[in-house]
């Protein structure tokens, strides 16, 4: 079932939770709502579920207006961060709840409910848990039961509010891959809220980035990472750091780096750089600096570099283990850095967060862009 919202506004007192939000989720997609806390993502999810009413705007489920439809009739499954299992019921009764509250003429016979629950327990790989209480299960198991309970009523839309937020990293990764497989197998439409960009990029077909109650960008995981629509998205998704840049006569100068030719208006800019878009060498042109920290993180190596004339935190560079092993930089080494790619944002007033960037790609490192 497709979801569409149009022109949603929602305030809580003075706080604006959603401001003119339009969003469409095609049937069968798994979409992530991503943003920092307080960005309105949970409010949006709750409005779609019918747990919250918008101040203005419309919600459509499968093309039909649903704004005034009570939550009971929306056919949505809702999964909470803290599972919200009925603590006084067994796992069986939890899963069967949505079926047993139906009116007598719609209610399946007891034998059918039993077999449905058994099927769902098999689906979430917790066959033996029917008689247990929620308090006897681990966090990951509880969340799987919550999911089975939501699926029991065959919802057309599954809404998940930070479903893995309360779990350990390991369980979290396992469970989100499992959710993806489940989604692929059952083809429901799902929308899930997260503040973890890794999770959004890994699981979703499409990512919606929210900030201050507005949608900043909507795109595939690759698009939002490679072509962020704004400085906010750039900084929020993946690591990034800023360098001051100046453009005069179509040439952009960043610190000690050789200037590159990028047509555009003169002025002050901010160059936003991802740590893996940086090259490091011992000699040659580039911005001089000193390695102050080296951390080997499995296949990745992070170098912290104090750049000449740049205060603040050290500049972060990520190298592949392979690249690192060729030079084996150590703390104290003198190095030169170059940029492989950066995005330019005009350094204007408060609106700078929303301006689209100019992407500058210097193939093959600084040498190629040098003139």
């Amino acid at each position: 079932m497709s979801i569409r919202v149009a022109g949603l506004h929602k305030r809580f007192g003075e706080f604006v939770a959603l401001e003119n939000v339009d969003l469409e989720v095609p049937a069968g997609q798994l979409v992530a709502l991503l943003g920092p806390s307080g960005c309105g993502k949970t409010t949006l999810l709750r409005i779609i579920a019918g747990l919250e009413t918008p101040d203005s705007g419309e919600v459509f489920l499968q093309g039909r207006p649903a704004t005034d439809l009570p939550v009971q009739h929306r056919r949505v499954g809702f999964v909470f961060q803290h599972y919200a299992l009925f603590r006084h019921m067994t796992v069986f009764d939890n899963i069967a709840f949505g079926l047993t509250v139906r009116r007598r003429r719609d209610r399946p016979p007891a034998a059918q409910i039993r077999s449905r629950v058994a099927d769902l327990l098999a689906l979430v790989q917790l066959e033996g848990a029917a008689d247990r209480r929620p308090s006897q299960l681990s966090g990951g198991q509880r969340q799987r039961i919550a999911l089975a309970r939501a699926l029991a009523v065959e919802p057309e839309v599954l809404l998940l509010d930070e479903p893995f937020g309360a779990l350990d990293t390991q369980v979290r990764q396992e469970l989100r891959r499992w959710l993806r497989r489940l989604h692929d197998a059952l083809h429901f439409t799902s929308l899930f809220v997260t503040h973890d960009q890794q999770e959004a990029l890994e699981v979703a077909d499409s990512v919606v980035v929210l900030n201050h109650g507005r949608i900043e960008q909507r795109g595939s995981p690759r698009e939002v990472y490679d072509a962020p629509a704004s400085n906010f998205v750039h900084r929020f998704i993946g690591a990034s750091q800023e360098l001051p840049a100046i453009r005069r006569g179509g040439r952009v100068a960043i610190g000690q780096l050789p200037s590159v030719s990028v047509a555009g208006p003169d002025g002050n800019y901010t160059a936003v750089v991802r740590p893996h878009d940086v090259t490091v060498d011992r000699t040659g042109p580039g911005w001089r600096g000193q390695a102050v920290g080296v951390r080997v993180i499995g296949p990745l190596v992070q170098l912290e570099i104090a750049l000449e004339g740049r205060g603040g935190d050290p500049f972060l560079v990520e190298l592949s283990r392979e690249r690192y092993d060729r030079d084996a930089f150590a703390a104290g080494d003198a190095v030169r850095i170059g940029l492989r790619r950066f995005d330019l944002y005009p350094e204007t007033s408060d609106d700078s967060d929303r301006a689209p960037p100019e992407s500058v790609v210097l193939e093959g490192g600084p040498e190629a862009g040098r003139e």
């Binding site: 747990l51 939550v71 009971q72 809702f78 803290h82 919200a84 009925f86 006084h88 709840f97 509250v101």
Partner: protein
Amino acid sequence: MTALAHDSDGETLAAVTRRPRAARGAGRSVLIGSALVYLGLFVLLPFVVVFGEAFAKGVASYFASLADPKALAAMRLTLTVALIVVPLNLVFGVASAWAIAKYEFRGKSALVTLIDLPFAVSPVIAGLIYVLLFGARGWLGPWLREHDIPILFAVPGIVLATVFVTLPFISRELIALMQSQGRDEEETALSLGASGWQTFWRVTLPNIRWGLLYGVLLCNARAMGEFGAVSVVSGHIRGLTNTMPLHVEILYNEYNSAAAFAVASLLAVLALMTLIGRAALDARAPELRRTTLPSPNT
């Protein structure tokens, strides 16, 4: 009691092996010892005295004073009042705790303060409020007399005063509990297709049942034991508007102390049963221990 004191000494001896622990152990047994002495002196001793006095003239006299028609009438009235007051405060307590814990609305903190008011007001003042309202010279007195509706010096007045005094017990117990439980389970139930009524009976009520029972227990104990407020509004008509605590006072003032203590012993038994019930509930639902027990007149 001596056995308990001895136990704490035993622990001190066991802890002597290491100096710092021994020092701590000594401090602990002093604290525990003084608490036990204090409780024994001010709680346990009076309790024992009540029963001692009650049986001072023998078992036959004890049961005779309980079987006295006036005493029976007082018991009946006390039970009647509790049977009316507890359900009233039960419904109000659940409704108000639900509203406060699960919804945001204007004036919520004012409502919470208002619920606590009966604990802040001396019960005698609470009784006087009803005299001012319903008394012969009170605001509603003349109208009530015209329509022949008895409130003051009759059962309705006793019920009203008791409702006032015992109002916070159930709702305070439930507000803390429901706030800690949040709204997620109810919202899940709704999203699974349950009606509001089904959600209440199948999700909310089972989740608060132990807290509710706890509140009912305390509310009942207070409703049966209330003296001050009831004393002001009852009029002390023997066999008609005398509750058990009032009956005890009357008997005592008439130097009939054995009978007074006999009736009082019933109230003491009630208190004992309340305590046992509380302990049982504590064991049953440990999460209740977090909520503090409101004391009357604080």
